[in-house]
Symmetry: C2
Subunit: 307 residues, 2 copies
């Protein structure tokens, strides 16, 4: 990668699944002369240091960001403001401050008033992840072939946006630019509401008394188990997503519920044609996702069926 | 497998994903001296014959079931009655008639009045499958380690039940016995409602105008793509499931919607603790499904992240 962008110093605040994956991908790409990672949690930063996926490890984010050209905040959306307040006075002029949160307008509003005018705030969101958490769950190839959405504002410096774009490309991502409100609407339907209904069905199932919890587990291969993967995602991260993307989530949830009520009515009245039509239409979306390289073709997610 | 149960003749009606997998598993186990497969669809039975996963292939189910010791109906639940009417007069005394449908009370009620008294009707449901359809999608190991639920009635012959149980065990399944109504309730929450909400969210997403369809596909890795797999399942099969398990599905859907309304309210009023508590509880269910061997441990369903 001869033309890979290279920075003197990059700092990542937060060493969980995403932060540690960004760190590993930066090391793989050789994108930083010095990569500093910080995490306020003693156990997490110790584990990160043991794993060794950066050059420096700090308990205090302010030490990590000192003199950094790019700072990536990889903390739950609800923690952005306190991290921003902590690091603000330590940021060097011209530094780019970005993040990996799943909500973009809320992050901009939280950070913009706190950061000095001499830094470039460009929120970002790599659309990638797994249901696991913590520094050991990260891996360098997490962003390969996945989209990273950047949400600059009208007066964002074009050169800074270009540098951040090239960093994400060096980490394997394809980069897309859109406004923060549009991001929040798109992700509400492609990510936030799917997580919410997965959490909800798992909750409903585990509350049933006529059906025992062991039956819910035993017969989960009928479809339910797919939802439990998503519903195993990090609770703090997802609480913050819903609290910080309230309007778009409630809007999409309203549409979902409206459509579900229509399906319920079709079942009650035995309208087989309405069911068949929907079930045929949805099959086509799956096909297009596979064709777009956004999921694998193999049946059943490639779960192992051979002995 | 020296003690594997062996039958002189087994007939399978329906050569799709499940029927062809049962056939392949029977051949793998050597469980039938003669295995006959029938499908009323010309293209399907031709494809099945080309694939060669049985000894005999018939367009007419009545020819396949003649003199069979066990007949397995692997057709959509809504087609059981017409198949039953067709084969009834060709069944030999003492034959076991079973099926693989995802609804059990409806299947029993459809077949029981049609079949002669001299056969044993024991509905069954292997809880296994993929989102794909057709004879080429089947494979012999589909049932390995998965549960097969049999739903005998109060006066089912014990010896016949035992023989059917041993067949499924020879195909790799673990067998569980329960009543048909209990089966339908358990599967409503572990399979039917999960499928319904997956179909529904994919429908809602594809209808959005503010969010383009290409965006829904591009950013599907945020969670949505998991739902599209399930929502790619066979439309005819699933239409019939919902029409034939109406009461249990509507009951479970009512609970799901009630719980979703509570979550919606928690988001609207910013009740982070309620969200966090649910999201923590659901993580435990995932853990128990993995511990029970009903799903794999690997992150993100083991999707490939390496180049």
């Amino acid at each position: 990668m001869a033309d890979t962008v290279k920075f003197d110093r990059i700092a990542i605040v937060g060493a969980g699944l995403i932060g540690s994956s960004v760190a590993r991908a930066i090391m793989r790409a050789g994108a930083a002369k010095t990569l500093a990672v910080a995490d306020a949690n003693d156990a997490v930063i110790k584990e990160a240091r043991d794993l060794g996926f950066a050059h420096e490890f700090h308990a205090d984010a302010k030490q990590a960001v000192a003199d950094a050209d790019i700072v990536i905040l990889a903390v739950p959306v609800g923690a952005m403001a306190s991290v921003g307040a902590n690091i603000a006075s330590g940021l060097k002029p011209g530094a780019i401050v970005s993040d990996v949160g799943s909500v973009k307008e809320g992050v901009f509003k939280a950070l913009d008033p706190l950061l000095p005018d001499h830094v470039h705030l460009i929120p970002g969101h790599p659309v990638a992840g797994t249901e696991q958490s913590g520094p050991a769950a990260g891996f360098a190839s997490l962003f390969d072939g996945r989209w990273c959405i950047l949400t600059p504002s009208a007066n964002t410096d074009a050169a800074a946006l270009d540098r951040l774009t090239r960093l994400w490309e060096a980490l394997g991502s394809k980069v897309e630019i859109m406004t923060a409100p549009h991001h929040d609407l798109v992700l509400a339907i492609t990510s936030h509401v799917p997580h919410l209904i997965a959490y909800n069905i798992v909750g409903t199932a585990s509350d049933l008394e006529e059906v025992t919890r062991s039956e819910v587990i035993k017969y989960s291969a009928g479809g339910f188990r797919d939802f439990t993967r998503i519903a195993a995602s990090d609770p703090t991260m997802w609480r913050d997503v819903f609290l910080n993307n309230k309007d778009a989530v409630l809007e999409m949830l309203g549409r979902f519920s409206e459509d579900l009520t229509a399906l319920q009515r079709a079942i009650r009245w035995g309208d087989g044609d309405a069911l068949f039509d929907l079930f045929t239409r949805t099959r086509d979306i799956r096909r297009r996702i596979i064709d777009a390289g956004q999921d694998e073709e193999t049946a059943d997610f490639g779960r192992h069926h051979e002995e």
